[in-house]
């Protein structure tokens, strides 16, 4: 269904342009429509086989669809949330300008993130991710506070340096291919994967390490994650949700594409070891930092770093069931993190601050979003019946089947530490009754709706993922793995 891809290619971009000029209400409606449309189209792609469009420039296989669904879901849910959340203060003219800029940026950002999984080839992938960096940097700075400016500068500097390294990785991989294909060729995936067995091994190894360092910067792997807590906490909340839930995994997708080629060129041991090292560092560091956070959104940002570490560790396990778990985790984390940020937005709107020491009695003040936020936090901590429990269960069972099962133990320890940090937050802010009774009441029905959507998705993924989805995950895991 090639028209599917063409619609995803054009509609969000067009909506973004319209939002810049059109009145605010029109912009919001179009954003919502576009978000829902892209999500539906992504779901339609789930059972399909490999689709190409535009004479090969666009191509989706099972792996791409997994990530496309993650992006599209948060695009749709985020649009719902944004309509309820974005109410800029100040005079009508500047408020309208903020609104228009915000929604134009939101659509453009979602468009660029949707581009990355559907373009064909490493070169176009880099270009798509570079566009996401540029757009998201401007969105982080849109709030025009001291903190936002600082976060945006750090983000754009570090992420761009990382992408420079990733460009070098792409070029080195191009060189590896040119030993087989000769001087001029394009970096399309089928070509690369077909001939990867003949690439010179050291060159591919260098390329993979550079790719993990470069794209890992955008993914949030320690030690190049330093921009992440700042950017995710200072951005406007719908953007934070998209950053944490979708952008990080899109960068992970880029690493996975390099992983695919590397595994076929040098065997699975080297790439797995590299990912394991970075994964363990990210998991442990994030779990430790999680406990000392005072800022609500920063807490969730560190939780994202932790989950990215878990993804990397999961990829280092050799059992296929673990790879299925990784891909399921991508989807579940998008749902859970999105809901968590939506809840955080609701709390911030109610209490007027992000400082957790000053927020008390959340459940009382927010009769709907409060409990849902607690459930989202439980979901992030891998509690059943939510999706993350299922995916982490798959990891750990895959990891225990490995000869070195110590890593699975490290994984469990790290996750438990993170759970402690998150639970402390939940109990302090949400469950402790407040001294002065804050008037209960939701800020907006849209916000509640977005959280409901998120939780429903998370529960479905945890309790009983639809058959086609499971089939998709299995196919994608097959594409990633290699005949051992």
């Amino acid at each position: 269904m090639a028209w599917d891809l063409i619609v995803i290619l054009t509609v969000p971009f067009a909506v973004s342009v319209v939002c810049w000029w059109a009145p605010v209400a029109v912009g919001r409606a179009l954003t919502l429509a576009s978000g829902v449309l892209v999500f539906v189209l992504a779901l339609l792609l789930v059972p399909a086989h490999t689709t190409t469009a535009l004479s090969g420039w666009l191509r989706v296989d099972a792996l791409s669809v997994v990530f496309l669904v993650a992006v599209a879901f948060l695009y749709g849910a985020g649009a719902v949330f944004a309509i309820g959340y974005i109410r800029p203060a100040g005079d009508p003219a500047s408020a309208a300008r903020y609104n228009r800029r915000f929604f134009a940026g939101l659509n453009l950002f979602a468009w660029s993130m949707a581009m990355a999984p559907i373009v064909n080839g490493l070169a176009l992938l880099w270009i798509a991710i570079e566009v996401t960096t540029v757009v998201s940097a401007l969105l982080v700075a849109i709030d025009d506070t001291d903190g936002a400016t600082e976060a945006a500068w750090k983000y754009v500097l570090i992420a761009s340096m990382g992408l420079g390294i990733a460009l070098l990785a792409t070029i080195v991989m191009y060189y590896a291919g040119s030993t087989v294909f000769g001087g001029a060729y394009d970096l399309f995936y089928p070509k690369l994967l077909g001939a990867a067995g003949h690439f010179p091994p050291e060159v591919v190894r260098l390329s993979f390490v550079l790719a993990v360092l470069g794209y890992g910067t955008k993914m949030g792997l320690v030690p190049v994650h330093t921009w992440l807590p700042d950017a995710h906490s200072e951005a406007p909340t719908p953007i934070s949700a998209l950053l944490s839930g979708s952008l990080l995994v899109v960068s992970f997708y880029a690493i996975l594409r390099f992983y695919q080629v590397t595994v076929r060129a040098v065997g699975p041991t080297f790439p797995r070891t590299v990912l394991l090292v970075f994964g363990v560092m990210s998991l442990l560091l994030a779990a430790l930092y999680l406990a000392r956070q005072r800022d609500l959104k920063r807490l969730f940002a560190y939780s994202s770093v932790e989950h990215m570490g878990i993804l990397a560790i999961g990829m280092s396990f050799s059992a296929p069931i673990a790879i299925v778990g990784v891909l399921l985790h991508v989807l579940a984390h998008a749902a859970a993190k999105g809901t968590a940020f939506f809840g955080a937005g609701s709390v911030v709107l109610k209490f007027g601050t992000k400082d957790m020491t000053r927020i008390r009695g959340g459940i009382g003040a927010l009769p709907w979003s409060g409990p849902m936020l607690v459930m989202a936090v439980l979901g992030l901590s891998a509690m059943p019946p939510f999706g993350i429990f299922r995916s982490e269960f798959l990891f750990v069972s895959g990891g225990l089947a490995d000869p070195s099962d110590a890593i699975a133990a490290v994984l469990v320890v790290g996750v438990t530490l993170a759970m402690l940090g998150l639970s402390w937050f939940a109990s302090q802010t949400m469950l402790t009754p407040s001294a002065n009774g804050t008037v209960g009441g939701e800020a907006s029905a849209w916000i509640v709706a977005s959280m409901v959507i998120g939780l429903v998705a998370l529960t479905i993924l945890g309790v009983h993922p639809p058959g086609e989805l499971s089939d998709l995950l299995r196919r994608a895991a097959g594409e990633l793995g290699v005949a051992r």
Binding site: A123, E130, L138, S160, Y175, D186, L187, E234, R298
Partner: protein, 224 residues
């Protein structure tokens, strides 16, 4: 008596000399005290990279590289320095921020990591038709020293110039190993760089607007 290493041809010697100029300008940026000098060094470095592209195009008979060299000249020697110089004029700031370490120390560290870059690349079995393999080591060294520039200097212009010079290093690397990359892909890369530069420029102005200075010393609110 050991055998002397083989003498490379004039072409590869000349090409290496230009690549060397790129690396030396990178080192000079470590030292430059004025922001204006940094930009001018960057413009000079980009000129050297464009010259290298023309060199490769002429000797390897790749006509597309001429177009690429023209684009990269317009973008990196004319446009980008122009944008940043305009910002400097508006900000009325002259001195670059202080270095975190002394210049001599920075040069010594930079030598160390360049040597690391050389040896990492030197071990690879890379045989390029376009440029001598040593140029790849030089490109890697440029990338690493650019990182040093970003880490050790404390004002936004130096950090931005560090990022731009990293792109220059990657361009040299691509001339060595990927000189026949399809033109449309190369142009897309350059266009992307332009967009990144615009965003850098916007954020630099926003930073200056808020903090009234181009130094990054004030960016220490967010910690932990």
């Amino acid at each position: 008596m050991a055998v002397a290493p083989p003498v490379p041809s004039t072409f590869s010697g000349g090409a290496e000399a230009i690549a060397l100029v790129v690396l030396l300008t990178e080192f000079a940026m470590l030292r430059a005290p004025l922001s204006r000098s940094q930009i001018r060094l960057y413009a000079f470095q980009s000129f050297a990279v464009s010259a290298l592209a023309v060199f490769v195009a002429a000797t390897q008979h790749i006509p597309e590289l001429y177009i690429l060299a023209a684009f990269s000249f317009t973008l990196k020697v004319v446009l980008v320095p122009g944008i940043v110089l305009r910002l400097l004029r508006d900000a009325r700031v002259d001195l670059a921020g202080s270095n975190r370490l002394g210049v001599a120390t920075m040069i010594l560290i930079a030598i160390g990591i360049s040597a690391f870059g050389f040896f990492v690349v030197g071990g690879l079995p890379v045989h390029s038709h376009s440029l001598p393999t040593a140029a790849l080591g030089l490109a890697m060294a440029v990338v690493l020293v650019a990182f040093l520039l970003v880490i050790l200097r404390s004002d936004v212009v130096s950090q931005a110039v560090g990022f731009f010079s990293l792109e220059n290093g990657v361009s040299v690397a691509s001339l060595v190993v990927a000189s026949r990359l399809p033109l449309i892909v190369e142009v897309a890369f350059l266009f992307d760089l332009l967009v990144a530069v615009v965003v850098f420029g916007v954020l630099m102005r926003v930073h200056h607007g808020r903090a009234q200075t181009l130094s990054t010393e004030v960016l220490d609110r967010l910690k932990g």
